[in-house]
Amino acid sequence: MITVTAARKHYGSFLALDDVDIDIPSGSLTALLGPSGSGKSTLLRAIAGLEGLDGGTVTIDGRDVTAEPPQRRGIGFVFQHYAAFKHMTVRDNVAFGLTIRKRPKAEIAKKVDDLLEIVGLDGFQHRYPAQLSGGQRQRMALARALAVDPQVLLLDEPFGALDAKVRTDLRQWLRRLHDEVHVTTVLVTHDQEEALDVADRIAVLNHGRIEQVGDPVTLYERPANDFVMGFLGSVASLGGQLVRPHDIVLERDHAAALALDAKVADSPGVITATVERVVPLGFEVRVDLRADSGERFAAQITRRDAAELGLREGETIHARATSRSTVVDHDPALAI
């Protein structure tokens, strides 16, 4: 369990952390999600002790580590750009934390072999980091961090420097690794898809504050505000309210639309709009619409619904939100 209380951090006049409180349960894989400058990396580095706080405390497993240097926090840290020791072989990189602790040679050798096996780098012991691909280097860095049996594993945009294919592979691999190793893990990312894919808990940060913490489903379906809603998936503005585009239903019959809408609590009402464009996206169809008020929004409907409606550009259609829809009152101040 990691507990951060009232964490504050300034960089000059820039407020990176603004009284942040967060609990990270033991064994969880928590993602700190937010745009750049939201303070997510600062928070992670503050937990690691790589960044000092102006105020507040950090507790790891009940031990107040606020004044401790990173060496004594029992952490493993993985950096975006690998931070490999270039002059050491893969084996020496992974063994580093054990070597400096002067553990017996046999113990080190066994542990390193086990870890290299886990991260899929057995057979690469004698390579230098320069001879590895980016994905391999990052897995080496992960093995290096795990070698010291950290109480918490901290990952700062670990897949940010990798290309899209490797990134998806690696994060699923990380998910499986976490299921095996069970170490409390905190991952910083600006990619909502990555957070939803990997984490069992997500904390959304913005302007140095935590907007919402919860499991991925809660955050997606019941966002606390329109920043969280907008950051975790696409949104459409329907009658001044934010709605997921796939929760918009299009009807030809205005009366039927009104009748169905009446059953939905807090609905934004039925919006009459003109079809501007119909874009097939494979499984789904995106319909770009312009409301009579002039507001533009997009609905995402299935291919079958699109075929039944037989939409053409320039036609008039009635849009409403479904009953299970996520609706957030739109606050223009938080507009994104």
Binding site: A48, F79, H87, G120, L121, Y128, G134, V166
Partner: protein
């Protein structure tokens, strides 16, 4: 780049278990080019294959000019010197070089230069570290005066040191005509070499690597010794070698404070000067050839070490 590298990558691909994500030897561009600064050994640059089809390639005329220039300015005088050294045959050369005074002068030179080089390796690295990592008032000024001892006419350096450490020393430290005097004088003129070769490497060094070491439990000293120092080593070595090469040939800065006492503080350059004055050109040339050989061996050693570290860190091609 080379067929060798392609082969090894192919082998990697077949060796890696396909079930594991991303382990297929995927060749990705290294995004952290900045982190590679560690390999530049100051004086060495990666050799590129000549490719005449490329724009900006060197034409035969260019090569001719370079060869001619090097011949006239460097090789011809060196050849003349060597010829002079052997003008009385091998025996004459051997006699000149094994004269007790000659051996003593060469020994003093090498000993003092080696001490100076080692002190430089430590203090130069420290100065570079402070200049890169610390912020303090007047840092730009300090950075600027590093080069001053190098730029100053060496005889001026000698007078400066003599006025401080000479017979009328205002601080009552007299190094006049001692080996310590030589060492101080040589430290003065060789100050910038290590500083200027380590500084750029340190600026380019990846700070995250040090943070990684700290997160793994390494103390500052362990991090420096096991992570930072190996990165800086080629640059330190290069700067140290240049300082050594400069020190063995130094004349101006030691001529006053050294005292020119044979077997004590007479360095090789002063011995050469002395032999010319008493009309023994063969002796002078022979000792000069010895100095030349030492300087050349130093530079050769540096190149070998630099290219070895470079090969190790660039084997990905």
């Amino acid at each position: 780049m080379t067929s060798n590298a392609i082969d090894s990558r192919g082998a990697e691909q077949s060796a890696s278990p396909l079930s594991r994500p991303g382990s297929g030897g995927r060749d990705e561009p290294r995004p952290d080019g900045a982190g590679d600064g560690g390999r530049s050994g100051g004086s060495t640059t990666p050799a590129t294959k000549p490719n005449r089809a490329r724009v900006g390639a060197v034409r035969p005329l260019g090569i001719g000019v370079v060869t001619l220039w090097l011949s006239v300015i460097v090789l011809l005088p060196l050849a003349a010197l060597t010829a002079a050294a052997f003008s009385e045959g091998w025996a004459g050369f051997w006699e000149a070089i094994t004269a007790p005074a000659a051996i003593a002068a060469l020994w003093v030179t090498v000993l003092v230069s080696a001490i100076v080089a080692v002190i430089n390796a430590v203090t130069g690295t420290l100065i570079a570290w402070v200049l890169v990592r610390d912020d303090f008032r007047g840092k730009r000024f300090v950075n600027a005066i590093i080069d001053l001892p190098f730029a100053l006419p060496t005889i001026v350096a000698s007078i400066v040191l003599l006025s401080l450490y000479g017979p009328n020393s205002p601080i009552d430290v007299q190094l006049n005509a001692t080996r310590w005097g030589l060492i101080v004088a040589l430290l003065f003129v060789t100050l910038p070499f290590v500083v200027r070769s380590v500084q750029p490497v340190l600026i380019e060094a990846d700070r995250e690597v040090e943070e990684a070491a700290a997160s793994l439990g390494a103390s500052s000293w362990t991090t420096f010794r096991r992570v930072v120092l190996p990165t800086l080593a080629p640059a330190i070595l290069s700067g140290t070698g240049l300082a050594f090469a400069r020190a063995i040939g130094e004349y101006g800065s030691v001529v006053l404070i050294g005292g020119n006492i044979p077997r004590e503080t007479q360095v090789a350059s002063q011995y050469i000067q002395q032999q010319i004055e008493i009309d023994r050109p063969v002796n002078a040339a022979a000792v000069s050839v010895a100095l030349l050989a030492i300087a050349f061996a130093t530079l050769l050693l540096l190149r070998v070490v630099a290219s070895r570290t470079q090969r190790r860190e660039e084997r990905d091609a």
